[in-house]
């Protein structure tokens, strides 16, 4: 099927215009960055509106705009509902953000917390998990960019992927977290207006009843509330989403960066506003049977349907929406992973005596290095977006309980936390390959909980919270 609906010239023009805008905006925002706190944490002074928008935008990724339709196409109604349950991660992180800011008012990364709370062994395991997830997400975002551009415009996958990575690296480098958060605000508005327009026009052109009738006639299992794989996916995705947010420095750096008393309400609002987005981006995939569309690669079903219904204008909007969604997550991930590399790996292992000025330089260099590594990993298009993302579920879900218990209970010790993360990840990965992606996060989370509960019963460590200050 010829999916190209936007001329190559238009695609290049959009990438250049948005690229120049984001980079210039990043430079302007970062021109007054002087200290490590300015660059890594936006001066720890982010207000409610920007805080809510950045939490929301970062969670609206290419996966929300490409994977939600794909999952709806494959798993039906539960696919989009299951994806929207990832909002629980944001909502449940809200009280944690408040607790994190209170316990560690001068903290920088989630690695800081794990090291001080559990010691070095658990910290090493956590760093492996966190970096595996970060690269999994970075690769899925980079690949998403390349796939989108090549599918919609015919431009070579590698050119599109390189362009998006280059733009995000440039403005993150120039403006730090301040640029990331401010662009997130603008990108959130663009994304929301885009997906809403596409959905309204899609409904008015095709008709909801016609979509439902066609699905019921041609693929009734997509409307089945007892679709077993879809139900497993629903629960798996809840724990995956929670694990992604609870452990990732993307969210911890925001908890540190938001003004006092802002974190809890910002994450709550972001979660509530995010909840319906996967349904809005996903339901359109159910129009595939009505349109007789059967894409070769299911991760492109959303953009293809939007383009088919809306023509060139639809392709234009889809392009801008997904481009913004990818940028809003890619920049956050670059900044947060660079913080982890700078503070934990460089400052914690390689050069423990590094001062803040040195760390600021390392932070900028690591953004560039991360961009290059991501580019190299994305270069061969290795798998579908879902597979890349879902494999990281086994890792991240294993961190949920060590983080929650670690933040609220003094009893859990470092050895148990390390075992919980390692054991959960191992079981989750095994089941990912033996059974399927829809059980990996769930099983990882259950094993980790089991280990933590045994640890809580067996040991009674009285951790001193002041050690986190």
């Amino acid at each position: 099927m010829n999916a190209v609906v936007l001329s190559t010239e238009w695609a290049i023009a959009i990438v250049i215009v948005f690229g120049v805008l984001w980079v210039a905006f990043g430079w302007w925002l970062g021109r007054n960055n002087r200290t490590l706190d300015d660059f890594m944490l936006a001066g720890r002074n982010v207000g409610f509106a920007f805080a809510s928008a950045t939490a929301m935008a970062t969670w609206i990724t290419s996966n929300t705009t490409l994977l939600a339709p794909q999952l709806t196409y494959e798993l039906g109604v539960w696919g989009m509902l299951g994806y929207s349950m990832a909002a629980l991660g944001l909502i449940l992180f809200a009280p944690l953000a408040k607790r994190i800011k209170a316990l560690m008012p001068h903290g920088y990364t989630c690695g800081d917390f794990i090291r001080r709370r559990y010691g070095r062994v658990a910290w090493y395991v956590f760093l492996i998990v966190a970096l595996a997830y970060s690269f999994g997400w970075l690769v899925s975002l980079g690949m998403g960019g390349g796939i989108l551009i090549s599918t919609l415009s015919g431009l070579d996958y590698r050119v599109g992927m390189s362009a998006i990575l280059f733009i995000c690296v440039c403005y993150t480098l120039l403006g730090g977290l301040k640029a990331v958060i401010a662009t997130d605000f603008v990108q959130t508005i663009i994304i929301l207006i885009g997906v809403i327009l596409i959905a309204y026009v899609g409904i008015s052109k095709l008709g909801l009843e016609e979509i439902h009738t066609a699905v019921e006639a041609k693929s009734p299992q997509l409307l089945n509330l007892l679709f077993p794989a879809a139900l497993m996916f629903l629960f798996n995705n809840i724990f995956f989403g929670i694990g992604e947010i609870f452990h990732s420095n993307v969210w911890w750096s925001r908890a540190f960066a938001f003004k006092d008393k802002i974190g809890k309400k910002a994450f709550l609002l972001a979660g509530v506003l995010w909840l319906p987005i996967p349904i809005v981006t996903g339901f359109i995939a159910l129009a595939a049977p009505a349109l007789g569309l059967y894409p070769a690669s299911s991760d492109m079903v959303g953009p293809l349907i939007a383009a088919k219904i809306l023509g060139g204008v639809g392709a234009f909007f889809v392009f801008i929406v997904v481009f913004s969604a990818m940028a809003s997550s890619l920049d956050s991930l670059l900044a947060a992973t660079s913080d982890l590399i700078t503070k934990d790996i460089y400052g914690g292992i390689i050069n423990k005596n590094a001062d803040k000025e040195k760390l600021l330089k390392v932070s900028k260099v690591s953004i560039v290095i991360l961009g290059v590594i991501t580019w190299a990993l994305c270069f061969p298009r290795i798998d579908t977006l879902a597979a890349i993302l879902m494999i990281t579920g086994a890792f991240v879900a294993s961190t949920i309980w060590p983080i929650v218990f670690g933040l609220y209970f003094r009893r859990l010790n470092g050895t148990v936390a390390a075992l919980a993360m390692a054991g959960g990840s191992a079981v989750g990965l095994t089941l990912y390959f033996q059974v399927g992606y829809y059980v990996s996060a769930l099983s990882s989370c259950v094993v980790s909980l089991f280990v933590c509960l045994i640890g809580l019963m067996a040991y009674d460590e009285k951790f001193d919270w002041k050690r986190l200050q």
Partner: protein
């Protein structure tokens, strides 16, 4: 057990309605923060 058209309609329109509110809420909050000089 299939989702009926009525429930499908409720689900999609509710999601679309809430999503339509989202950019308005964010813009109003930004205006308030900007007026109070509390954006950053």
């Amino acid at each position: 057990m299939l989702v009926t058209y009525e429930w499908f309609e409720v689900l999609v329109w509710t999601a679309l309605g809430l999503s339509t509110l989202a950019p308005l809420v964010l813009l109003v909050l930004a205006l308030i923060d900007w007026k109070k000089e509390q954006l950053w």
